[in-house]
Symmetry: C2
Subunit: 404 residues, 2 copies
């Protein structure tokens, strides 16, 4: 008789954004006359930039002719895209990352979820708290997190690194040495960043204790301040301890297009075995590449037109972020983030819990945000708003919140 992977049953409730979706749908069904504004899930709303649309049409036309038709993609992704990434995201920043150290994928969520597979089941993970839920949930599924304490909402075998107002939402080096350290900067959900010298401390620490940093840089396009690193490979020694996850979802609006990549430098080894070889084996065995037309769209992100158009798109969202940040501040909220990231992190007022504030905003202002507690225990009493709405909706949402 077959048995299931009962680690799945240990997961408390459903995936955060599924829960939010269900709550909002239920409210909408009961209140069909209300205009709900969604600043919850980190989904973009602006259309794809013209340079990307042009590349997509061009690639579709190629698929229509036998001479230019493309079947299975190369395992790691097309050379034209990997080279554009290596040149623009790394070489241009003085980082030494070769095109064949880049693995193109259908998005950072998949990579963030799958990367733990190449590590031993008894490795211990450390995560920022609060944090994007995928890191912990996928380790739960793999049986790596021990026992769940439902009162404290923590796992016995996970090292939590609180990121709260007191430490400016920047994690401190853990007392117990972890094997895998998930870091995400600019941070989801807090919108906070750390400086290059702070990140260098993490790299030095990882090299010292023999840990791997899984560095999620999905929001790097939103960095506006100097001295905030765009990639972990700006730090010395990162090639021997860090994997970087990158996404096209937020810098180019690809949430519904699906493209991302993972960087694994060949210097990152366990004994004689490179993690690059393990991930290559996983790619070759369990994955069949991102669509050709989507990889061509990714290439267009790095074209001159694409860069200029996407700079405007990011500026559009950051203008929203500014409106939210200033609006909530003027209404007396305690707010952070929103300067180097499209997320605004606020303290729920009047001692409300995160979910109480969620319900309050949904019912009183018809605005959807994300409860901070969904990202980890230290997120309790916090709340996330995203800048990914349209400007008009963002203004209306903020004005409604101010009017409460």
């Amino acid at each position: 008789m077959f048995k299931i992977n009962d680690n799945y049953l240990k997961l408390p409730g459903s995936y955060l954004f599924s829960t939010i979706g269900k709550k909002v749908n239920a409210y909408a069904a009961q209140n069909p006359d209300k205009k709900i504004i969604r600043l919850g899930i980190g989904d973009v709303t602006q259309p794809l930039a013209p340079a990307i649309i042009k590349a997509l049409h061009g690639a579709v036309d190629e698929m229509a002719q036998a001479e230019t038709f493309k079947g299975y993609a190369p395992d790691l992704g097309y050379e034209f895209l990997r080279k554009a990434i290596a040149d623009n995201d790394y070489k241009a920043r003085g980082c030494e990352i070769a095109a064949d150290e880049i693995f193109v994928s259908d998005g950072a969520k998949c990579d963030a979820g799958n990367i733990q597979e190449i590590f031993s089941g008894d490795n211990k993970i450390a995560v920022c708290d609060p944090v994007y839920p995928v890191y912990v949930d996928t380790n739960v599924m793999a049986g790596r997190t021990g026992v769940y304490d439902s009162a404290k909402e923590v796992w016995s075998d996970v090292i939590y690194m609180p990121c709260v107002a007191e430490n400016h939402f920047a994690p401190e080096l853990p007392k117990e040495a972890p094997d895998l350290i998930y870091l995400c900067f600019p941070n989801n959900p807090t919108g906070s960043t750390i400086t290059k010298s702070q990140l260098q401390e993490w790299v030095d620490y990882a090299n010292k204790v023999g840990a791997v940093i899984i560095y999620d840089a999905a929001y790097e396009a939103y960095i506006s301040e100097e001295d905030v690193p765009h990639t972990i490979y700006e730090c010395e020694g990162a090639r021997s301890c860090a994997i970087e996850l990158r996404s096209f979802s937020k810098n180019a609006g690809f949430t519904g297009v699906r493209l991302g990549f993972t960087v694994i430098p060949k210097d990152l080894k366990c004994g004689e075995v490179t993690l690059h070889s393990l991930w290559a084996r996983r790619h070759g065995t369990k994955y069949n590449g991102a669509p050709y037309i989507v990889q061509r769209a990714g290439e267009a992100v790095y074209s001159e037109d694409g860069k200029a158009q996407l700079k405007q798109q990011v500026a559009y969202y950051m203008n929203n972020a500014k409106y939210i940040l200033e609006g909530l501040k003027s209404a007396g909220y305690t707010v952070s983030g929103g300067v180097n990231a499209p997320y605004i992190w606020l303290k729920a007022p009047n001692g409300m819990t995160s979910w109480e504030f969620f319900d309050y905003l949904l019912e009183k202002a018809n605005v959807v945000g994300t409860p901070g507690s969904g990202f980890g225990p230290s997120g309790e009493t916090y709340f996330r708003l995203t800048a990914f709405g349209s400007y008009e909706n963002t203004v209306e949402a903020v004005d409604r919140i101010k009017a409460l």
Copy 2:
């Protein structure tokens, strides 16, 4: 100090098709004047059908306007596609599969590789021998296959079901009851099929012993004979024991477009837990949906124009299959498959091993095929040719082989 998943190190050599690719590239580099014809990897060569191109362009245009732009897709896939699948692939064949039992993905290879995750680590798998390598390799990575015997090329904890000329390439019920049974019909690599009553025996057996059948029907569009089931849900009782994997790669030429789906009926349970709920959780946590434009392309596969055009495309490849089958027969080869599948399975002549015949064909005829031993020990001395080339190349390849 972090440790790796050392199950990966147990895998013998690299993924089959990567090995072939390297061998062919090396030969091509040394013999730049030779025209190599590739009938090895199961990759299509015909361009996308006009109805699909039209749908792709239309969806790209939608992504260019804020009003019609699409971000994250629904977890299970868009309703329009799941409904088209449910209606055309199931309801039209008298099978009761609801749209919400269908999970849209970026391809059957990913699903075939990932599906084992929802099962316990100590479940025992049974596979046809020879078979598509992904089933076994992904279970090796999960630590489910025991010790490798490199002389016999078998794993101690895998139940192999030989499919050889003596049993008409149809597996027999295993003596030891497995927990998970991988079946693929029309079969890759042998091109063989089983009848509906034969498949019914497997369904009855699985229900009796409490096993789950993972049924890979990627090649169903190539079925030409009556009484060969197009889906396992044509069999009574399959809803309580079978998961079906489907692909758009071979029926619609989507190898570089990437689309597939998995069906998990809600009747398929372990105690009170539905496998549907586990796979839904995996989808929600580790996956972010197939691209919107690709899902619209999938919808076009089921349009009237799409159906008519793809019927012609399948006929084109099956005409190739016929040419290979008859050509090799006339040259004295022992050949099977090629009637309900785009694969032709032949016996290597003169006592050659599979890889010997691979090298022989590559060097003497500049034709690339796939060594049968790459699919399992019972594939030794066999060889696979695919019908996915152009007609001109197929004819030239067969004529070269005949002339040897």
